[in-house]
């Protein structure tokens, strides 16, 4: 091959690189390894993690241990879905483009909004993306963000808003529900979460109405599974519904890759970030799908694009679409109702545990907060010894709640698991208090 090129060595191919810049040593990465050795090494690392297969986990806080049906893996592992690039050549990408179109339809149905894109990165950055659309839409200087929005989403939005010179004002929670401050024409968007981070179902409609009262956009982060049962953002008058898609057929993967969804009204369609698949016809009149409304996007509009997003999360969104088809129109309701029942049972069961108090008596779907009469960290350690991941400690994000714990219940958790949690919590709180009582004053 060198001969055909007309050089005498590989070295010659790099001669345009100034010698002063050449690396004069091998990278400090060691030798290559055989497949078997690499597998063993990375399996050993996996073995150092305590996954939801290794303990009874009640962790949620935005990502949930749902059962991912086998057909999701078998389909997404097909090389025709796994290995292509973004479908720039629609004639040979109809499979992916149609799958996107079907995904958009599912998100549209779940959110009750007419427009969905083909995915954004994940939940919190989706909130940032929604904020950017608000900024582009009305250019106002303030976001009002509920404290019920996922802390990661609030932080992500703040990071981006700072660059835009937009101020972020936090609306407090009162007894678990968002309480908006007086709004004014300076407010670009009101951003809430449904159910909120503490698991409580918000009154999305009144929050949206208050936003619209000052012509601000109403933006809601949503957990897509509960939407199968809850009043939809669309019904509530929300302008943009975004969210974390992991709970739809994506594994936990220590936080990613999953997907974010982005749904909105017809009014905002030309400001949507990222890919959108649209239906059209080919020269023979045959139905087909293409990436559409591309004049929004970076590769066409460059500095005037409505977002910089390029690669997003197509394969994860596909998993989501397969998953909701697997659940189906009835199944998704059955699943969420099942979680509703399990969660209700768990809330009652824990409420009965001495030293455990349920934080607010409001409707929740699959997650709720409790206060403990003992240091959460101590209790968690004790529960881990019993093989239980008791939940997400709220102290860091919500010091105002004191020693509080967020408990998530998916269909993977049985009554027995919940009873074990109750016993473990009870024992842990009791012994923690015994210890401190015993401790010298």
């Amino acid at each position: 091959m060198l001969g055909t090129i007309g050089v005498s060595s590989i070295e010659d191919l790099f001669k345009e690189i100034p010698a002063s810049l050449r690396l004069d040593r091998p990278l400090a990465l060691g030798e290559g390894r055989s497949e078997q050795e690499v597998f063993d090494e990375l399996r050993a690392l996996a073995g150092l993690n305590v996954s939801c297969e290794d303990e009874v986990s009640f962790l949620g806080a935005g990502m949930y241990d749902h059962y991912v049906p086998a057909l999701v893996d078998s389909i997404t592992q097909r090389s025709e879905f796994l290995t292509p690039y973004t479908p720039y050549q629609p004639e040979i990408s109809q499979g992916g483009l149609q799958a996107m179109f079907e995904y958009q339809t599912a998100i549209s149905e779940l959110t009750g909004l007419p427009i969905s894109n083909a995915s954004v990165y994940e939940g919190p950055s989706a909130v940032g993306a929604a904020g950017y659309v608000a900024k582009l839409t009305n250019g106002r200087p303030k976001f009002v963000v509920s404290r019920g929005v996922h802390p990661h989403s609030r932080m992500t939005l703040a990071t981006m808003a700072h660059a835009w010179g937009v101020e972020v004002i936090e609306a407090p929670l009162s007894d678990g529900l968002t309480e908006l401050p007086a709004l004014d024409q300076g407010v670009s968007a009101v951003i809430v979460q449904q159910p909120n981070f503490l698991g409580v179902v918000e009154d999305l409609e009144s929050l949206a109405a208050q936003a619209h009262g000052v012509d601000a956009l109403a933006i809601s982060a949503c957990d897509p599974l509960p939407l199968a049962l809850l009043r939809t953002p669309g019904e509530c008058g929300v302008d943009i519904a975004v969210g974390e898609g992991q709970s739809l057929g994506n594994r936990l993967d220590y936080g990613g890759p999953s997907f974010g969804f982005f749904a909105t009204t017809d009014a905002l369609v030309r400001r949507v970030p990222g890919r959108i698949s649209g239906e059209t016809r080919d020269v023979d009149g045959k139905r087909g799908f293409v990436l559409t409304l591309q004049t929004r996007e970076q590769h066409i509009r460059r500095e005037r694009a409505t977002s910089n997003i390029c690669t997003s999360q197509a394969l994860n969104a596909l998993a989501g679409a397969i998953y909701v088809s697997w659940l189906g129109r009835r199944g998704i309701v059955e699943l969420v109702e099942l979680m509703l029942q399990l969660t209700a049972y768990a809330r009652e069961r824990l409420a009965a545990v001495p030293g455990v108090t349920v934080l607010h008596q409001r409707p929740v779907v699959r997650e709720f907060a409790v206060a403990l009469d003992a240091p959460v960290e101590q209790v968690l350690v004790a529960c881990r010894r019993a093989g239980i991941g008791a939940g997400y400690p709220l102290g860091g994000d919500y010091p105002e709640l004191g020693e509080a714990l967020l408990v998530a219940i998916t269909e993977r958790r049985s009554r027995e698991d919940i009873d074990r949690l109750a016993e473990a919590l009870g024992a842990a709180v009791a012994s923690a208090n015994k210890a401190s009582a015993g401790a010298p004053a």
Partner: protein
């Protein structure tokens, strides 16, 4: 048999299902009591009603309407469509990785944190920049991180800068990111050799400039030979020098952005480091930075803590105590599943293997140019800048359009009939009728030879009848699609009733 084009909604039939609910083993409560009707949606989401066998067939049929890397040549310039080793999928699926909850306590996620820490370390070594954040979710997200880091850096020094420079060859995400990062884009020209126009750069580099975003090799597939001077100019005005890592595949183990003076590098793990593209993601866009930008990296950072003396084991942790950090760019710790694959790749190849990757990527690209020349293709599709290229090269379809009446788009569509994925078209913008070709290191000589012959066949065919290419493709599941109509009256979801 069944029309392959039916959507899953069109296949739906009332009453069908795949899902069976687990038995409810707790006392059942009244729904209204748990969730008052006023809080419930008025009608169920109209999701498909369909059995598992039909779901499987639906997606199987769809899959057969996709071209993929595991089936054929995919020289999509700037996208580094290299083989994705199957081992990586097996490893990523291990429950210890795949079912690890992101909020798991760090003491119970030591394997994941160690893997991330080792990956940070390896990426830092490859980039020649010591500090790495794995958080960004893709390349453009990494770019945003870079721009925000630059802002934090200047603000911390009390400087207020308003402009970011990008070459006119830059990828669309660069200017888009600049705007999203709250800066104004200033375009820098390209000289006749395809390098950054140093004169233009000097003219535009002033105290208002926060950053120059560059990729080297450039999107023209050329090594920026003036990089040292570029670096002097940019740093001379106190701006940061940003490296878009999409083209890193050309130089791994050969030279390093950090050694060239770059302050910030983003990686596309879904390009150089084999995360499968998934038809448009997932990816990951970690950033590596120099010491002076380290304080501003996102939270949390994965750190290795070595306890004082007493020979206690070092352990891995998430560090949130970063007062100067720009904050978060997303939830949790990033696209961990992607990290697993990329780390497996780095471990498999080691230092010699990574260098081989870049050497072969560059060898393949230059060999393909040479073969195209042999085939006489360059007559109609000249190389935009006739130099040794790096891992990719740009052809101009200008002469082909002028002399044969066949545009780059037509050539691309005709390639589809030969079972080849076309190169990137109409990018970079500064090249007339551009065709950006990146073969990657995992392709064989036979494949490159065949591609050269196919292009030459298409040109010959066009010479005696341009209509063949103009009407192409013919053998694809659908033929040319009306994108204008799609955009005029957007139909972006299934209509249901």
């Amino acid at each position: 048999m069944t029309d392959d084009q039916l959507t899953i909604y069109e296949r739906s039939k009332p009453g069908r299902r795949a899902f069976v609910a687990p038995v409810l083993d707790v006392p059942e409560r009244d729904l209204d009591e748990l969730l008052p009707e006023a809080m419930r949606r008025s009608a169920p989401a109209r999701l498909p009603e369909i059995s598992e066998p039909e779901i499987v067939r639906h997606y199987n049929r769809l899959s057969k309407r996709n071209f993929d890397l595991d089936t054929g040549f995919y020289p999509l310039g700037s996208c580094t469509m290299k083989h994705n080793p199957k081992l990586h999928e097996r490893i990523a699926a291990l429950p210890g990785h795949a079912r690890l909850h992101p909020a798991q306590h760090p003491s119970r996620a030591q394997g994941a944190l160690e893997l991330m820490w080792r990956l940070q370390d390896a990426l830092g070594e490859i980039a020649g920049l010591p500090h790495v954040s794995l958080q960004p979710s893709a390349g453009s997200h990494g770019e945003l991180a870079g721009v925000l880091l630059t802002r934090a850096y200047h603000e911390d020094r009390g400087e207020h800068r308003t402009k970011v420079l990008t070459p006119d060859t830059s990828h669309g995400t660069n200017p888009a990111t600049v705007t999203m990062g709250g800066y104004e884009v200033v375009k820098v020209g390209t000289d006749e050799r395809g390098n950054v126009d140093l004169g233009d750069l000097r003219a535009k580099a002033d105290q208002d400039v926060a950053c120059l975003m560059l990729t080297n090799p450039s999107t023209l597939g050329l090594f920026e030979t003036g990089i040292e001077e570029v670096q002097r100019i940019v740093h001379g005005v106190g701006a940061t020098l940003y490296y878009d890592g999409a083209n890193l595949n050309a130089i791994m183990g050969i030279c390093r952005p950090g050694d060239m003076g770059f302050d910030i590098v983003h990686f596309n793990l879904h390009k150089s480091f084999t995360q499968p593209h998934g038809g448009g993601g997932p990816g990951a866009g970690p950033v590596a930075v120099s010491d002076r930008l380290e304080p501003y990296l996102p939270v949390p950072q994965v750190v290795r803590r070595v306890p004082e003396g007493n020979g206690a084991e070092p352990h891995y942790d998430l560090d949130f105590e970063r007062p100067k950090s720009i904050g978060r760019l997303r939830g949790f710790q990033g696209n961990y599943g992607v990290f697993v694959r990329s780390y497996a790749y780095i471990r498999s190849l080691g230092a010699p293997g990574l260098r081989d990757v870049s050497e072969n990527a560059v060898l393949n690209a230059n060999y393909l140019v040479a073969r195209l020349r042999e085939e006489g293709v360059l007559e109609y599709l000249p190389v935009a800048y006739d130099r040794l290229c790096m891992h990719e090269f740009v052809l101009s379809g200008g002469p082909m359009k002028r002399d044969l009446g066949v545009r780059t788009l037509d050539l691309a569509k005709r390639l589809l009939d030969f079972g080849v994925h076309p190169p990137t078209v109409y990018f970079p913008l500064i090249v007339d009728e551009a065709l950006l070709v990146e073969p990657t290191e995992t392709e064989t000589k036979e494949t490159l030879d065949e591609f050269a012959e196919i292009v030459s066949t298409i040109l010959k065919e066009a010479a005696n009848d341009p209509e063949v290419a103009r009407q192409a493709p013919y053998s694809t599941p659908v033929r040319r699609l009306d994108e204008a109509a799609a955009a005029r009256r957007p139909v972006v979801r299934q209509q249901l009733d």
